[in-house]
């Protein structure tokens, strides 16, 4: 069985980025594609080649690379993070009084989009709530295990001497009124039933207390009750647990012929900072490239940090670089960036997406067995 050279394998994995075109896009690691080569699925081979590297790790913002996996699977993880991991969000708003200038439906929509947080065990304990319809009882009336009750009760008033100050020409609302800005922190969680124990230590509250919900003026008030339920991003974006979950392929820059002198500086400016570094032309360089004779000690462009490149292709617009550089991306190197909205940690979100894909397969396998019976 012919074994492709390392050079050939790198070439196969390279997506070439031209000035106007992208080539060699599709993966070819399938049985029957390359004569004589196997490419059969082999878990041990995968385990040996597959690698994960972390670049950034914060609770709500993580960046890591998956190397040696196919796009279809990496994309499945991304799609699951966006649309299929359940979170808690405000679904129903019961408005008692709203005399603010924000209309009821706009206010309800704004409330729905506020990210909530609370005890992770508690959120896992929460069940789905299905709204009852005419012919389907759904989950019936909301209960402690599938619904979270929140209240918002705010009223704007004049400050003491506020009227006096307004007569003197004061216009700063902070010096005239109280309660004129309604923030997410004004939302009050009312635990019911078992929630008293489960959300005892980490009660449900908005992730960002400073989100401005509405502005009020004296005598205006908002009195309302909210039901937050579990849902998935497929249904409404407010349920999506991530602000963004995206990946990009690792960029590559191959300098095929040396770029030296003033050209090197110009070349470096074609890229984001620190992607290209300048080094001195050494005697060895001159030996390898005779055309560099006499330029020893001048600046030479070298690739320092391809990961920071944005693949703007600026360098390909200049005639002097066109024949000296090749841009590309590595097809199986995915740089993931997962930004959480705060309900779950970024790393947990990725793990959850992997588990969910597994669960999907399991469910279908069960269905398949039933069909065969």
């Amino acid at each position: 069985m012919p074994v492709p050279s390392a050079e050939e394998l790198t070439k196969r994995k390279r997506v070439e980025v031209g000035i106007e075109t992208v080539s060699n896009q599709a993966s070819t690691d399938f049985p029957g594609h390359w004569p004589g080569e196997s490419h059969e699925w082999d878990i041990e081979h995968f385990e040996k080649k597959f690698d994960i590297r972390f670049h950034k790790y914060h609770p709500h913002d993580a960046e890591f690379s998956l190397v040696g996996i196919d796009t279809s699977v990496a994309n499945a993880f991304r799609r699951i993070m966006l649309a299929e991991i359940p979170t808690l969000a405000i679904e129903t708003v019961f408005i008692n009084q709203n005399t603010s200038i924000v209309q009821d439906e706009v206010l309800a929509h704004r409330l729905g989009l506020i990210p909530l947080q609370g005890s992770k065990e508690g959120l896992d304990w929460m069940r789905w709530y299905h709204q009852p319809t005419e012919d389907d009882p759904g989950s019936g009336s909301p209960s402690d295990y599938n619904c979270v009750q929140l209240h918002l009760d705010v009223k704007c008033e004049w400050q003491e001497d506020g009227l006096k100050r307004v007569a003197q020409g004061e216009t700063d609302p902070d010096r005239l009124y109280t309660g004129h800005n309604v923030y997410a922190r004004d939302i009050v969680y009312t635990p019911t039933g078992k929630q008293h124990d489960i959300f005892d230590k980490e009660p449900i509250k908005p992730v960002h207390p400073q989100i401005l919900i509405a502005k009020l003026r004296p005598k205006q008030e908002i009195t309302l009750m909210m039901h937050a339920v579990k849902g998935v991003g497929q249904d409404h974006a407010k349920f999506s647990p991530v602000a963004t979950a995206s990946y990009r392929l690792l960029p590559t820059i191959d300098i095929t012929k040396p770029i030296v002198g003033a050209d090197a500086k110009k070349f470096a400016r074609c890229f984001p900072r620190k992607v290209i570094a300048l080094e001195e032309v050494t005697a060895q360089d001159v030996q390898e490239h005779p055309e560099l004779k006499g330029q020893e000690g001048e600046a030479k462009a070298v690739v320092a940090d391809p990961m920071s490149d944005t693949v703007s292709r600026e360098c390909l617009r200049h005639a002097e670089f066109k024949a000296k550089v090749k841009l590309g991306r590595v097809r199986d190197h995915f740089i993931f960036r997962v930004e959480s909205t705060g309900q779950r940690d970024s790393d947990e979100l990725f793990l959850e997406s992997v588990r969910l894909l597994k669960v999907k397969c399991q469910r279908i396998k069960r269905g398949l067995n039933e069909m065969m019976r």
Binding site: S38, H39, F54, V73, K360
Partner: protein, 133 residues
């Protein structure tokens, strides 16, 4: 599989399959409604998955294509407003499509297992390194 034709290849999981064209949510009888995904043989069949989309479709297509017994594998979403995904598998001589689909699911699950394990390792290692510095 004596007495069993794969014409009934409408994949039914534990969930009820409701006929979308029916007003009263009538259930689809697989035996009656066989022209849905008809024309299947032991080595070539189409499967319909309810409630699935590109997420599973493309991943499953990839892993099934990695099987050397498979002549062809492809998936489609027939209509964007119906939550359905069709998967077509054709195999080389005599290999059952069911076995191939089952192996595909197993392989994908094994792959997820490796990804989960390696992710946890990489994360713990990164955290440990950060603590040292």
């Amino acid at each position: 599989m004596p007495g069993h034709t794969l014409e009934e290849s409408l994949l039914q999981s534990a969930v009820r399959v409701e006929d979308p064209a029916s007003i009263d949510g009538e259930e689809i009888d697989v035996a009656v409604d066989r022209d849905r995904l008809s024309g299947a043989t032991d080595t070539a069949a189409s499967f319909q998955f309810d409630g699935e989309d590109h997420t599973l479709g493309n991943a499953l297509r990839y892993i099934i294509m990695k099987n050397p017994d498979v002549e062809f594998c492809g998936y489609s979403i027939p209509h964007p407003s119906e939550a359905k995904m069709n998967l077509r598998i054709q195999t080389y001589d005599g290999v059952s499509v069911h076995a191939v689909l089952e192996k595909g699911l197993d392989d994908l699950m094994a792959m997820c297992g490796v990804v989960e394990k390696k992710f946890q390792l990489a994360r713990d290692e990164f955290v440990a390194n950060r603590m040292e510095h």
